[in-house]
């Protein structure tokens, strides 16, 4: 793994697009600096030898649990009550075209 260079502003802008996160210019700059510091700190683990080591994604041994895909307990009124906007029994969003 190569040494991380300081993140460019363009890279930060690209990530904010990927994350669907609108950031102000000052947020961009402060995140650019802070992320660079965190990633630089992460560089320390590059020296750990991990050849042939499987990544650990969940800390205890678990097996896949399957169940029939049936609807239980479902109150659509309660769920719709949290919608910012709705039309009848549908979620409504503003027109975007």
């Amino acid at each position: 793994m190569s040494k991380t260079e300081k993140l460019t502003l363009q890279a930060v802008q690209k990530v904010s697009k990927l994350a669907r996160l609108k950031l102000t210019d000052s947020e961009m700059t402060s995140i650019q600096n802070q992320l660079s510091a965190v990633l630089e700190n992460f560089e320390q683990i590059a020296q750990v030898n991990t050849d042939e080591v499987r990544p650990l994604v969940t800390p205890t041994e678990i097996t896949q649990v399957l169940r029939p895909d049936v609807v239980e307990d479902f109150d659509s009124e309660k769920i719709l009550a949290n919608a910012p906007e709705k039309a009848g029994r549908l979620f409504k969003v503003p027109p975007v075209v």
């Binding site: 993140l7 609108k22 995140i31 683990i45 590059a46 750990v48 990544p55 969940t58 503003p94 975007v96």
Partner: protein
């Protein structure tokens, strides 16, 4: 009544010394009297008295938490009761269901008093990142209560509830417990269902009890634990009755002292607390074993990569379509709509973590960051498992310092993150870990020590905790004016 333990309150309700309504009323009164200064609750359950009355009338006091009022971190969904994660994003969200943990506690007879503050989406170590304002440490209002379960810890210390629920992703139960002088345990990963708990980092998150005695924690954890059909990561492992098996004679118990945990720059009072705890345990017949955990020095780095990666994925659901905050601004495009809703509603720490996680998972960086972190995570877990072949419980500080001043670290995230050095490894390895109050700093702030054990061995932790509780009685003292 507020000085009674949770267990004493339950026994009092069972013996009809007082009713569940009287108990709930007492604590609600205390909240309205004392919480303005502390800000630990964000929502009071306005049906608490009604629920207590229904409980009294039903007359079944057999539940292990019969009539006990509890505070619940505002990260756990409560049916019909606002659940905000202390974010502008969910400021008006009313869940249509209870988290499994809440269902189980209610089934055991607990009455939910209200919802306690946290760092937004549990991201933080100081409770300064709450949309509803910082929580004050009841021991000194200029200091943070810790985080992210800062509201639960502060409410307990201020005797506003005899028991509380927290969640812990990298230390969020243990660090505030230490800062506020209460007990708190993060159980083994898989002990407690995550269903209905607003997800931060799914492979690290666990809910756990916080209380003012070891036994109270054990009793609450018994009620919370066990397989849940709605969370496939819950374990089939039997749930022992820890509270009835606590032994305080520690003859032959091996206490592991990780060399690495004592070499960091640690506050003198914290070192003193840790050494005094070791001396006390030795006096009870425990023996100490020096252990090596060389990878622990990387835990914070691995943790922030993994936690933020999982968070960036978990928080993708907040788009302002079906629930949550929606921008007033007319969007130019669908992406613009999502980006505005999210950009306006998330606080700066949440944004920072989503950005880090998105970067770590993005094309070209995944192997270097997320995969690499996962590989070192496995090696770290194996190191702990090896250490537990030579010891029963590992003892360490909880945090490098006692509570710090509000505002003193918020501008430097890296410094704030390094504060989590002793707690994050337990989550990465899935191990149980507990904070036990031991003494006070020279400035009167509480300090706890951390106890860790191997997977599903919460019993050894409770045994050692009960011994420290009896020797130091540090959880009995109440803050001034409370």
């Amino acid at each position: 009544m507020e000085q009674l333990s949770l267990l004493e309150i339950r026994d009092g309700v069972r013996a009809k010394k007082f009713t569940a309504v009287e108990v709930a009323q007492h604590f609600l009164d205390r909240i309205s009297k004392h919480d303005k200064a502390i800000n630990s609750f964000v929502t009071i359950n306005d049906r608490a008295l009604e629920e207590a009355k229904a409980f009294d009338q039903a007359g079944d006091f057999s539940g292990s938490l019969a009539g006990v009022p509890i505070a619940v971190k505002d990260l756990l969904c409560t049916d019909g009761l606002k659940t905000t994660a202390c974010s502008k994003m969910l400021a008006n969200y009313i869940p249509p269901y209870d988290a499994s943990v809440v269902t189980r506690l209610k089934k055991a007879g607990a009455i939910v008093l209200g919802k306690t503050s946290l760092d937004e989406f549990a991201m933080g170590s100081s409770n300064e990142n709450s949309f509803f304002g910082p929580v004050k440490n009841p021991w000194n209002h200029d200091f943070v209560p810790g985080g992210s379960s800062g509201g639960s810890a502060a409410a307990l210390a201020a005797r506003l509830a005899p028991g509380a629920i927290g969640t812990d992703t990298g230390g969020s139960i243990r660090q505030p417990a230490s800062f506020c002088g209460v007990f708190g345990i993060k159980p083994t990963y898989g002990r407690v269902s995550r269903y209905g708990i607003i997800s931060f980092a799914s492979s690290l998150d666990q809910a756990g009890p916080m209380a003012r005695t070891t036994k109270d924690c054990a009793i609450m954890l018994e009620a919370m634990s066990g397989k849940c059909k709605n969370d496939s990561t819950t374990s089939n492992e039997a749930v022992p009755q820890w509270s009835t098996k606590i032994r305080q004679d520690l003859k032959g118990v091996r206490i592991g002292l990780p060399r690495e945990y004592f070499s960091e720059s640690i506050d003198a009072d914290v070192t003193k607390a840790t050494l005094e705890a070791i001396t006390a345990l030795k006096a009870r017949g425990a023996m100490t074993v020096e252990i090596n955990l060389p990878l622990v020095k990387h835990a914070v780095s691995i943790y922030y990569l993994i936690a933020t990666s999982e968070a960036s994925s978990n928080l993708a659901r907040y788009d302002g379509v079906r629930f949550g905050y929606r921008s007033e601004k007319a969007p130019d495009s669908l992406d613009d709509f999502y980006a505005s809703n999210r950009g306006e509603a998330f606080g700066s720490e949440v944004k920072r973590r989503i950005m880090l996680g998105t970067y770590a998972l993005s094309s070209g960086y995944y192997d270097a960051y997320y995969s690499k972190a996962g590989q070192v995570r496995r090696l770290l877990r194996d190191e702990f498992l090896e250490a537990f072949e030579t010891c029963d419980v590992i003892l360490s500080p909880v945090a490098t310092t006692p509570a710090f001043k509000i505002g003193s670290r918020i501008s430097n995230p890296l410094e704030m993150y390094l504060n989590d050095i002793f707690t994050t490894s337990t989550n990465l390895a899935g191990l149980p870990g507990m904070s036990v109050p031991v003494r006070f700093s020279s400035t009167g702030l509480p300090i706890g020590v951390q106890l860790m054990a191997t997977h599903f061995n919460e019993q050894s932790i409770f045994d050692v905790s009960a011994a420290l509780e009896e020797d130091f009685r540090a959880g009995e003292k109440a803050p001034h004016g409370i």
